[in-house]
C-alpha cells in the first residue's frame, strides 16, 4: 500500500510551506521510484500531479493558532505511535479518563513527587 503522507516527517517542521514541500518531495520520490523517471508525460508525472492535488486539499491553507496547536498535538501523538486526530475534534471526558489511567503501573502506593524530586537531584 502506498504511504502517501509521512506524518512524522511532515510534522518535524511546522512551517506549512515546508510541511507541504517535505510531504510532496517524499511522495514524488516514491512514485517516481515506482514508475521510473521518464519525463513529464510519464505515469510518474501524472501520479505526482494527482498526488499534489490531493495533498493541497489535505494541508491547511492558513497557519492559525488552532492549526498550530493541532499540529503540535499530532506531532506528539506520532512520537508514541498514536494515530492522528481530526482537527477540531475533542474528547470531553479526557480529564476523567486520565484519572487513574495508569494505576496498573505499580502495585504499591508511592510518592511520585518524591521520586521525581530524586530524579531532579541525581
Amino acid at each position: 500500500m502506498y504511504r502517501l503522507l509521512d506524518l512524522s516527517l511532515a510534522l518535524e517542521n511546522l512551517d506549512l510551506g515546508k510541511v507541504a514541500s517535505a510531504v510532496l518531495t517524499k511522495s514524488f520520490s516514491f512514485v517516481q521510484g515506482f514508475f521510473g523517471d521518464t519525463g513529464e508525460t510519464s505515469p510518474s508525472f501524472i501520479a505526482s500531479a494527482v498526488l499534489a492535488n490531493s495533498l493541497r486539499q489535505l494541508i491547511p491553507k492558513e497557519m492559525t493558532p488552532e492549526v498550530t496547536d493541532y499540529l503540535s498535538r499530532t506531532a506528539l501523538r506520532s512520537i508514541v505511535g498514536l494515530s492522528p486526530i481530526k482537527i477540531g475534534s475533542r474528547d470531553k471526558d479526557a480529564i476523567t479518563k486520565l484519572k487513574g489511567s495508569i494505576s496498573w503501573l505499580t502495585k504499591e502506593k508511592i510518592d511520585v513527587t518524591e521520586i521525581i524530586r530524586e530524579m531532579r537531584e541525581s
Binding site: D69, I102, V112
Partner: protein
C-alpha cells in the same frame, strides 16, 4: 466571557493524577487541581520538557515494580543477569510506553483543557544565566534518611560500619528552574506543583507565579 489563565503543570501533578487514588500519596491534591481545570479555572500548559520527565519517571516506576515482582533474595550477579536480559528491558519499555501513551492520548484529545507547548518559542541563554544566579545565591538544606531495602522497604543497617542512615543535600535544582523558565517563556501565568522545594525560588514579577499545591 473571561479567559482562563494558562497554568504550567509540573510533572508530579500529571503522574500523580494518572496513577490514581490507590497508587499515589499526592493524588488528592492533583485531583483537586484537575477538577478546577474541568471547571475552567485554568487551562493546562503541557510542555515537552515535562513530558520528557514524565516518561523518565514512568520508566523508573516500571523498573522498580518489575524488580519487586522478581524473586526475593537474588544475588548481585543474579540481579545483573536480570537487568541485562532482553525480557526485562522489553517489559520495562512496554509498561512505561503503554502508560505514557495513555497520558498522551488524554491530553492530545482535549484542546479545551490542555495546550501543548508550541514549537516557535525560543529560549534565551540569558534565562539560564539567571537560573544559575538563583542557584548560586542560596544553599539548600541537608536531610537525614534511614537506609531502607529497595525491595521490601524495611530499615536496614550496614553490616560493616553500622550506619543505618544517610545524609543528603536537598535543594531546588536546575530542572526545577528550567520548568520555571519554560513556563514563563510559554506565557503561563502560574506554575503549579506539589514539590515544596519550589518555594526556595525567589519571587519575580517577570516570571510565572509559583503555586505549591498542598
Amino acid at each position: 466571557m473571561s479567559v482562563s489563565p494558562l497554568a504550567y503543570v509540573d510533572t508530579n501533578l500529571f503522574v500523580s493524577y494518572a496513577l490514581g487514588e490507590e497508587r499515589d500519596a499526592g493524588f488528592q491534591i492533583a485531583q483537586k487541581l484537575f477538577d478546577e481545570v474541568s471547571q475552567g479555572k485554568y487551562v493546562v500548559l503541557v510542555s515537552h520538557f515535562a513530558l520528557s520527565e514524565t516518561l523518565h519517571a514512568l520508566r523508573n516506576i516500571a523498573t522498580v515494580q518489575i524488580f519487586k515482582e522478581a524473586n526475593n533474595g537474588l544475588s548481585q550477579a543474579e540481579l545483573w543477569n536480570l537487568a541485562k536480559s532482553e525480557r526485562f528491558r522489553q517489559e520495562v519499555n512496554d509498561r512505561s510506553l503503554k502508560a505514557f501513551k495513555a497520558i498522551i492520548e488524554c491530553i492530545t484529545n482535549d484542546p479545551k483543557h490542555f495546550r501543548i507547548g508550541d514549537f516557535k518559542t525560543v529560549y534565551s541563554e540569558e534565562m539560564f544565566y539567571k537560573a544559575l544566579k538563583t542557584l548560586s545565591e542560596g544553599l539548600g538544606e541537608f536531610r537525614v534518611y534511614p537506609v531502607r531495602c529497595p525491595k521490601c522497604d524495611s530499615r536496614i543497617t550496614c553490616d560493616r560500619c553500622g550506619s543505618d542512615s544517610v545524609i543528603a543535600y536537598k535543594s531546588v535544582n536546575a530542572p526545577d528552574l528550567t520548568h520555571l523558565l519554560i513556563s514563563t517563556s510559554l506565557g503561563c501565568k502560574y506554575l503549579l506543583t506539589m514539590d515544596k522545594y519550589f518555594s526556595k525560588i525567589p519571587k519575580n514579577d517577570t516570571q510565572s507565579e509559583i503555586i505549591i499545591l498542598s
